[in-house]
Symmetry: C2
Subunit: 189 residues, 2 copies
């Protein structure tokens, strides 16, 4: 057999090419040939690592999910209010990394509307997020209905992400909106 290669690494390289393609041309620009070209490998290699196109797309979805999770996991703060704000800002396409990932997330989010298999993991991720947010809200401002506020905040940043992506809201304005929205939730319980 030829040189033993890191199977997972190769899959991640190809998956990254899929994400780049989705971010720049949209989900329907993803074809095996385009992916191969974007990853600068042969189409046979793509097929070697992914049995079907569906498997390829699912892997790309897991890949960006993990990337976003990693980015969120890298955020830290001892002050709950600061922590909370940092996480919300991390969900927006403000940093270069987030700007690369957000369009991909948006594409999969829209696809989830008509593809239940994407909806489930998204719901689970959101649920986790809501629980975490609610905990932080409680830490800053006990009482009220933290879970409701958490859901509202999450819907808010999700919508804001899209607005930034389509150029409706500038990154700076988005930051300001998050700040304002957060202060309202945290001060007038």
């Amino acid at each position: 057999m030829p040189k033993q290669v890191d199977h997972g690494e190769r899959r991640r390289q190809i998956g990254a090419a899929v994400c780049r393609l989705i971010a720049t041309k949209g989900l329907d620009a993803v074809s095996l040939r385009h992916v191969a070209a974007e990853a600068d490998v042969s189409m046979g290699r793509v097929q070697h690592y992914f049995a079907t196109k569906d498997e390829l797309l699912m892997f790309a979805f897991e890949l960006i999910s993990e990337r976003v999770a990693a980015r969120l996991g890298a955020v830290h703060s001892d002050d709950p209010a600061t922590y909370l704000r940092a996480i919300l800002l991390e969900l927006l396409p403000l940093s270069p990394a987030a700007r690369a990932e957000a369009p991909v997330l948006a594409a999969f989010l829209a696809q989830a509307v008509v593809e239940p298999r994407l909806g489930q993991p998204l719901r689970e991720g959101n649920d986790e997020m809501v629980t975490w947010l609610a905990g932080m809200i409680t830490a800053v401002r006990p009482g009220g209905d933290p879970r409701r506020d958490a859901m509202a905040l999450l819907a808010f940043v999700d919508g804001l992400m899209l607005q930034v992506l389509i150029g409706q809201v500038t990154p700076a304005a988005a930051e300001d909106l998050v700040e304002h929205q957060l202060s309202r939730v945290l001060t007038c319980g």
Copy 2:
């Protein structure tokens, strides 16, 4: 020539089929043949009324935009607060009509991320909406930064629409969230 036919009406029939297809199977399920089948007409007819697939999709986009605008235009109230709440709720997939249109909007919204030609009309519509919302907010609660609150509210309902569409939030919960969010904006300026 054969029976003179209402050109616009035929285009709207086909455009409606496109919207139905997008709502149930997603944007990439839209092909001339599928559209023809969904509209129960021949493919030749579809081509007769739309020179290219792109023109067909653009028309479908204008069609749902007009439908949403019509739905919003049908909302009336003398009380600004009631009016404001009614409009926000109308943006969510709560009524059967809105439930049919929201998935189509979501699909085009995601497409707008990678297709500037969709982004422009969406931005204009959102801008109008923000201005209107800001006016209503001022009418209820003068002072503050009504435009900022309007943008925040719009981002919130946009995100909430998606959450409802992917089954993350029930229509009842969405209604409750809007109520709560609105009261916060209107009472603690």
